[in-house]
């Protein structure tokens, strides 16, 4: 394990001035949760489908001419409720056909179906409102359909897309985005968007975060923008809501050299063992906390200063991301905190050793 380490110590999402909003949230888990460094203290979207104007509320179709249905903004906990709202929208756009929309068209399929007594075409691809269409929410591919009286969604869907937005108040540099404690497993897509204004039709930054069930991460070229947004596209997630524990958006610190050989990883055993008279033992099972110990050896003053400045921002107990090799394996990035302070040793007139005795993984 070596390569290009990066320290992500300035999370602009958690900056006090940053204003967070979201497409929706649940009563006990507002978007302000993302200001907290505890990973289990998460934001959670409302259950089901949240339709937001300018985001996912349009259906372009052709039935005796190109028309657009606009679904009423709001939260629809069940597919049946959203289906009813879509019928209302279609009837408003074109009152002639007898529209029918249902959910779970096939037994247990959890798919939408859209139909009418007159043939029509869904313009998911060529419509004027493709950017704000709700095809993903309904499980349809991004392509126009042939003319028919009935279209079934291709994918099982359980929720809408969601977004979380950060207004940094003033433009600030962001070099990467990280998400942990999300509920998407290996599926779903997390996209980091950035823009100078609060308009999202074509944002300056539109970067998909790569990763897995544990972490989604991407580093980008430097951008100094005021508005940042995390778009969650996981409509097929049967949990029915989106959830994020930690969203990082901010710069990173990268020293000119990697840490030295000798990185050690250990496990702090939090479980407790009790022994009976007979010798039998009992275990109170608790998590194992990983800890890392590493140092930079024989580094120049410039790198020492870079590291010192970064570590100064994260005193003991303050969580940050440490990417062990941001270029080759960016998902080798850990969320943790310093248990004790970093030490610097002048080894010669030009070189320093910087020791990071214990970087402990943040649990819970």
């Amino acid at each position: 394990m070596a390569g290009t380490p990066r320290l992500c110590v300035t999370n602009r999402i958690q900056t006090p001035a940053t204003v967070l909003t979201s497409s929706s949230s649940q009563a006990g888990q507002p978007v302000s949760r993302l200001k907290d460094q505890l990973r289990s203290k998460a934001w959670r979207s409302a259950l089901g489908w949240t339709i937001v104007a300018g985001f996912n509320n349009k259906i372009d179709f052709n039935r005796g001419g190109v028309k657009v249905a606009t679904i009423a903004a709001g939260t629809y906990a069940t597919g049946a409720l959203l289906a009813a709202a879509i019928v209302t929208a279609l009837e408003a756009a074109d009152a002639t056909p007898a529209w029918a929309v249902d959910y779970n068209a096939g037994a247990g399929a959890y798919k939408f179906g859209i139909g009418g007594d007159l043939a029509f075409t869904l313009l998911w691809s060529s419509g004027a409102n493709t950017a704000t269409a709700c095809h993903k929410e309904l499980g349809f591919a991004v392509s126009d359909t042939a003319s028919s009286t009935w279209f079934g969604g291709a994918n099982a869907v359980y929720q809408s897309r969601h977004w979380v937005k950060a207004d940094l108040v003033t433009a600030a540099e962001v070099l990467g985005g990280i998400v942990v404690n999300h509920n998407s497993g290996a599926g779903g897509t997390y996209t980091l968007q950035g823009n100078a204004t609060d308009a999202w039709s074509s944002p300056t930054v539109n970067q998909t975060l790569a990763g897995d069930a544990t972490i989604r991460i991407a580093f980008i070229s430097t951008q100094t923008l005021r508005y940042w947004r995390l778009v969650i596209d996981d409509c097929g997630n049967a949990l029915g809501y989106g959830e994020v524990g930690i969203w990082y958006a901010g710069p990173y610190t990268q020293p000119g050299v990697s840490y030295a050989i000798g990185l050690t990883k250990a496990w702090e055993e939090l479980s407790e063992v009790t022994v009976a008279i007979s010798g039998a033992h009992f275990q109170d099972e608790k998590a194992r906390r990983p800890t890392w110990s590493l140092n930079w050896s024989e580094i120049l003053e410039a790198d020492r200063a870079i590291l010192a400045a970064a570590f100064a921002l994260v005193p003991a107990g303050r969580c940050f991301f440490f990417s062990f090799d941001a270029v080759t394996t960016p998902t080798d990035t850990e969320y943790g905190f310093l248990v004790e302070g970093v030490s610097e040793t002048l080894t010669s007139g030009l070189y320093f050793d910087v020791a990071l005795p214990t970087f402990a993984g943040a649990l819970g």
Partner: protein, 920 residues
Amino acid sequence: MPVPASDAIASDVGHGALGIRYGLRPFRDLLSETVGQRHLWVEMRPKKLVTAWATEGGGVWSWAVSETFDGVVLDVVGVRTLTETLARVEAQALATAGKFYYSGTTLYIHLMGDAVPSATSVVVEFGVHIGTHGVVQPVLGVDRLANGSFEAWTGAAPDGWTVTSGVSAGTITVDKTTSDPLEGSYAARVTFAAATGAMRIRQDFTTLVAGQVYRFSGAYRITGAAGILAAIYIDDAGTNFVLPDGRTIGASTQVFTDTSNDGAWRRFAFDFLCPAWGTLRASLFAQVVTGTLTGTVDFDDVRLSPIYRFAYYEPLLNVDSIPTVEAARADSFWGEMSSALGSLSLLNGGGRLEPLLAAYDWLGADAIIRVGGRYQLGGNETLMDDCPVIASGKLGAPTVTDSAVSFDLEDDRKLLLRTLPTRTYNDNSGTGAYQPADRGRSRALLWGTKTGIRPVQYDIHTTGGGPVSLGSYEVADCTDWPAIGLAWMDYVYWYTDEDAALVRSAARRVAVGSTGASSIVESLPTGRFDVLHDMRPIILTDENNKLHFDIGGAVLVAAPSTTWPPYPLSGLPTYDPTSLCSEITYWMNTIAGTSDIRCIFKDVTQKVQIERDSGTLNLRCATGADVQMGIWAILGFNVTADRTGSLGYLADRVFTSPAGDQILRIDARGYGDDGAGTYTGTASAVIEKAPDIGRFILREILKVPASAINLPSFVAARTGAKPCSLYIGSPRTVSDVFSELETSGNFDFVLNGGVWYCLPRDTSTPAGTPALVDADFLSFGSHYDPEDLYGTVRLTYNDAPDSDELTEMGEVSAAAVALRHGRPDQRAFATCLRDKADATYPLSGSRLEAIAAQAQVKRRRFRFSTKGKALQVPVGGKILLTRSRGLDTTGALSSLLVRVISKRDDWTRWVSDVEAIEVV
């Protein structure tokens, strides 16, 4: 390489995602696991006095809730007034009297009797949740199912449930089973005998709220042939079904099916969004689909509860300060209970908690502590519906430092230290005592039949405008039971003097039955009565019964009989002896040969008048022979001059004496049951059995909510219980009263997991009794305690309400105890049994015999520490001990049944320190 998100709990079904989880091993089994995770969940309920109410009409008032912590508008988990604890409902439309609804932003309350909030004090309780792990958990409401525990049965039918079956072959039956129920005494069992078909056990609901999330949870157990399945349905009575995702409606679909026939209890939890159906049907289902199979499917601990919110339990609980739960009896008999709950400490990094602590009232706020866990190797966690309450109590004042906030915790058992009666006669709370000697006296409580109660005069009452006021009296305080009050007032006695009252002398009293409308007016709901006439006893002898008069001729002497019981002056209530006035009337007419002479008492003057319609009537008050033996002084006539020249003579003095000079005692039957037989099982019966009295005290006087009382255990204990007579007229602790009731009824009132139980003391081994073996003991010791042995046992019963000297008692001695053990000591046991036959004599079958059987036999005591298994055993509960070394003639213990008399549960270490005594 990345660190896992959490060591414990995922964000999935049960934690906000709707849907089904099943096949879950229950918490009960986790106690026996040698490896596993332990989780603690604490709900604290800080309070705020709210005054800014806005009317919504119809008795409903609202308050816009803007209380936040950590960016979250707090959940309102309770609303209380001085007299009410409102129940939470899921919709504003359901907020009828006594209930509240919280929309998440607005609180709606509806007080009883459409009371106005500004006329009382309304305290709102908020939910603050902390735990050992950071996780989202449901805030569960009150169970909507009837008899989901399957403890109540009528024959082979579970009360509250509808059972339907479809049988293609063989037989399928449903009945209760006592075979290791998951909780309580019974589970429901569906039995397949070479059968094909299905059995459905269901309940229908018409008041669930569309759009509200509910949790349908419970446990099932399958034994027998492979292919027998258990399932559940949620449907609208047969057409539309909630699918396993908990949100979608579809055609007939089980929420889950399980065919795991390993004979082990498994749990399910189904969180679903309630559809807009007129009827929602929740069904338990057992089926053999193919073949003819034999086996059983059991169901138990089934609940249907609203989920008001998914709340984040912040992992702030300092693991070093998780409270220990201590409870002990003073002795191995029914000595008073004591308890302690330690303290609770929260991490306070960054000073986030200070604003929260400052904003609300924490002192005395409720704290509810639940425990759960997770099985090893990725096994299931126990969901919130299966996380039992291990302690509930009140928070003490918080101590705040920069790193932590700690609270002392007061166990709910502290209510045992409260004093009964709860009210006194004083001038400031509405009921004062009229006589100075009664001021500050306790307002008595009464259960069962009690004789000789001295009522307290709380007011005056004047009959017919008479000059001397009479009294309004209270027999017992019925404030807490206002609709029913006392069952009956049998007699009101006027005694000649205090000594006569003390010994209840029938020869020196006048008895007035409770239907004596002319003498008293009673009010059973208030436990009070007004005196209309002075019924002071008049005892006639040959020395004071002569009445000299004439009707125009010779002096006549009427002599009312001296053989009657004491006379009241007047009044003819149903059960009264003939009044003195009537007697005088009779004898004057008899002696004079007339029929128009009357001796009457006049309310307006409170004097006696002797009159005649016509002719002559002279009263020889002064000149009659032997006038010194005259009755005139009793009747209020001066004996200085005869009364002549008229047809009517009013006495010179009033007869009525002030209320304070009258000596009254009451025979009454105490609190009566309501029309539903809530406490006795019989409509309007007298509440007089010890388990019923105990439950009444908990519910009505100490205001313990119904959800905190295990009704089946109290009902079961009622069987065979003997009538008691309990009058509490002077301050006693609840613990003392409970001890007396427990001694009377041979059971233990047990608070376990925030719920009160009534557990019989017998030699049975209840289902689920933990069995400890060698490997379970972290420490072990045994001994004999001399305080368990007594040469003489005395038992008291049916004590007098106004004097300890009149307590009835029995005694039994065993000389051999002194000879063998050097214990000639005597021990008295107080009971409130009413009848001698139940208490002491004949000895055979009496409580005295039963208690002596224990107190005069040496019993082993054991002290040990153990992991897990004993954590849920309360004081009074039982444990089976098996050990290769032990205090026994064999040198080992083999399934020895012991009863816990004290214990200390350390939920941090998952360890119980227990002292127990063998069951004989």
